[in-house]
Symmetry: C2
Subunit: 420 residues, 2 copies
């Protein structure tokens, strides 16, 4: 792997040189005093600004070709349509759909994504081919069928053994679909397996009001959070997607256990799941809060900048207070908080961190104001301001060109046309 | 003006040829049966889709360089900052800031904008230079100062006389800033003047809870809508921005009078003005509903696609019903409804309409799904899918290039640096 020296790039207001050795940021020095040199590629980034690659902490990449298939209809009708499409897909579909998702993520500045989908080895192949940093879960979803449980246990162990042979930047995780789709026995097995092997646990939690009501009816008045806590599931290795319908006690538990809560604002709004994500309360209780897009079937794209803007705007609006979820916290949720959740040195541009860097072009109308870089990035700009992307020490987009883009789209179109 | 023939462009699912003669759409024929010819430019649009140019029904273009200057602070602190900046600006600033706004509008698919700002002749110059279709108001805002009233009356008459000499696609209108910033005598004068001359009346109305409460305290319990109605102001020639805090009686009045109500979702969310825009109720009562971005100081950009997506998502979320504000209504609000509000044959691609057309590139991941074109345009894509823009029968952007873009930004940067 060739070393890279980025020259004259603005970091937190200071023009700096960044030396990348292998997949690590080796050094950062103000350009005016820099003596950094490099035996690899030297790139002049004059006029551009560096930010850490964004982390999408909850998505289903394989759903990238399902956008728009269920618009303006009620949740259960929507779910029926998704399931009908999903019944027809195979490994080949997931491989190509994940490549499309990766292409979109690169173009919108995501370098790490926490994925939750079927045919995971295909998602792994796709993500590595495109150079992203994927977190890939084996998805457990037995629907209370003991035979299915046994099959999934075997498959999960097999996938773990395969994953241990990976020699790349991928992280293997365990996904427990949700409390309503996985048996208690299987939840306990999955969590034990994950903890024995030091794996993150990725779960949908308290996404809809119905999930909470059904849980309380089934589990002696316990909410989904209380129920999982009673099983010993919750801890700082748990990444809980949605956490939208929470009681005060739920918030206290999520905070005390240091759970990573992932807000997926666009999905929640569009499916009308709810809009009052309890950001302030969860943060103050001690939970670690990150952001995600959910899959394209619900949120319709994988754009983290859009997610950041909408998250903050809704939070300000429903609380009636424009000062909540300020810019530094929005930036933290898609960078350092995500690094903490995954236990990876990502989300910071500093010596020793993994080299996941966005090179942002500010020579356009979105940045032409006395406002701060972060204000213009989050509230004014779109992802097309992201000129180039480095992930794990390698350029995966340069000047908005991702190698092989046309071929990825053409092949995916071929797979899609076979389905319809 | 050279005629244009667009060949093989998809309109509502059918590959068609569009002939533009002067500034008018002269004919549309399915490409398979087309014998349209043209003595001007012939453009092959194979693989692309046509949509009507978007209409931004409420903005302050001259604020384009104020994005991000007041983030995460309370409304009145924000307003103080805006006023401080505004006290320092002049004609030259507004000219260059409006050019930047026009550049952004073109790149994001807006062809007509309903503007409300100071130094209007400079906005006129800027918009015409860039080829947009502006609606330009003389802004009345006397703050109950009789001397200022007289000065503004004279200036308004003078501007009207100037505007009558315009030989371009601009429309002149009268803006009444708001009920709290314009004296009753001046409101009546402005509305009478507008109606004598067949001009649209553009007003901020019921934007904040405080505006409503203050009005009720001052005007014997009447809401801003009731107060204006008691003065005979409300009618189908009124374009009312925001209309966010409404009683049942307000909705009835706005509907019966056929008022054009402009929802500015991003501004309302970000300033925490409110989020429960009463879309269904206003539509059912008979009001004509359009969308706007407001100025860049509050919403931070002028992107109508973003406005469309956020409007629909918030509406679905707060009502708890994913079927509300369906796609066809979102499209109507930024096209035909706006044409109706302005009394212009815009917002439709049909013979006889003004030739304001967006040419959308669908050869990318945002459109790679079995979802409808509209679903992918509104919920998945960003404005960078807009390849080319025709306004008033002229290309004002081709392949994402707006002539003179770099110069516009450089000159605006020069003006901005003099201020700080």
């Amino acid at each position: 792997m060739e070393n890279i020296l980025l020259k004259n790039i603005v970091i937190e207001g200071i023009e700096s040189d960044i030396l990348i050795e292998g997949n690590i940021i080796a050094g950062i020095v103000p350009s005016s005093a820099s003596d950094l040199s490099c035996d690899g590629e030297v790139v002049d980034c004059k006029g551009k600004t560096a930010v850490p690659g964004f982390v999408n902490m909850h998505t289903h990449a394989g759903m990238s070709m399902m956008r728009g298939i269920g618009e303006d209809i009620a949740f259960h009708e929507w779910l029926d349509r998704i399931w009908k499409v999903e019944s027809a897909i195979d490994e080949d579909y997931v491989y190509h759909a994940t490549k499309v998702a990766c292409l979109e993520m690169i173009k919108t500045g995501t370098t790490t994504f926490n994925d939750h989908y079927w045919h995971m080895p295909m998602a792994h192949k796709a993500a590595i081919e495109l150079g992203l940093r994927p977190v890939l879960a084996y998805v457990i979803c037995d629907r209370n069928d003991p035979a299915e449980s046994e099959r999934q246990k075997d498959q999960c162990v097999g996938m773990y053994e395969e994953a241990m042979k990976w020699k790349d930047q991928s992280l293997f995780a365990i996904a427990v679909h949700a409390i309503y789709s996985v048996s208690e026995e299987m939840i306990l097995w999955a969590v034990r397996f994950a903890r024995e092997h030091g794996l993150r646990i990725h779960i949908h939690l308290s996404e809809t009001k119905k999930e909470v009501e059904d849980c309380m009816a089934q589990h002696e008045g316990m909410s989904p959070v209380e129920y999982l806590d009673s099983l010993g599931v919750l801890g700082p290795d748990v990444i809980a997607a949605h956490t939208l319908w929470l009681s005060d006690n739920d918030i206290r538990i999520l905070g005390e256990r240091g759970v990573n809560c992932v807000h997926n604002v666009n999905s929640n709004l569009k499916l009308a799941s709810g809009y009052r994500f309890l950001y302030n309360e969860l943060r103050d209780a001690g939970a670690n809060i990150c952001l995600g897009t959910d899959g394209c079937a619900s949120s319709n794209n994988l754009d983290m900048l859009e997610t950041m803007k909408t998250s903050a705007m809704i939070q300000k609006a429903w609380r009636g207070d424009p000062s909540v979820m300020p810019l530094d916290e929005i930036m933290d949720m898609v960078t350092v908080n995500a690094g903490k959740a995954l236990g990876l040195p990502i989300g910071k541009i500093e010596a020793g961190a993994l080299a996941d860097i966005l090179i942002v072009d500010t020579e356009n109308y979105n940045f032409l104001s006395p406002g701060s870089f972060e204000a213009n990035l989050v509230y004014s700009a779109h992802s097309d301001c992201i000129d180039s992307v480095i992930c794990n020490g390698r350029f995966i987009m340069r000047n908005r060109v991702v190698p092989g883009e046309k071929k990825i789209l053409a092949e995916a179109r071929g797979v899609l046309s076979k389905l319809s």
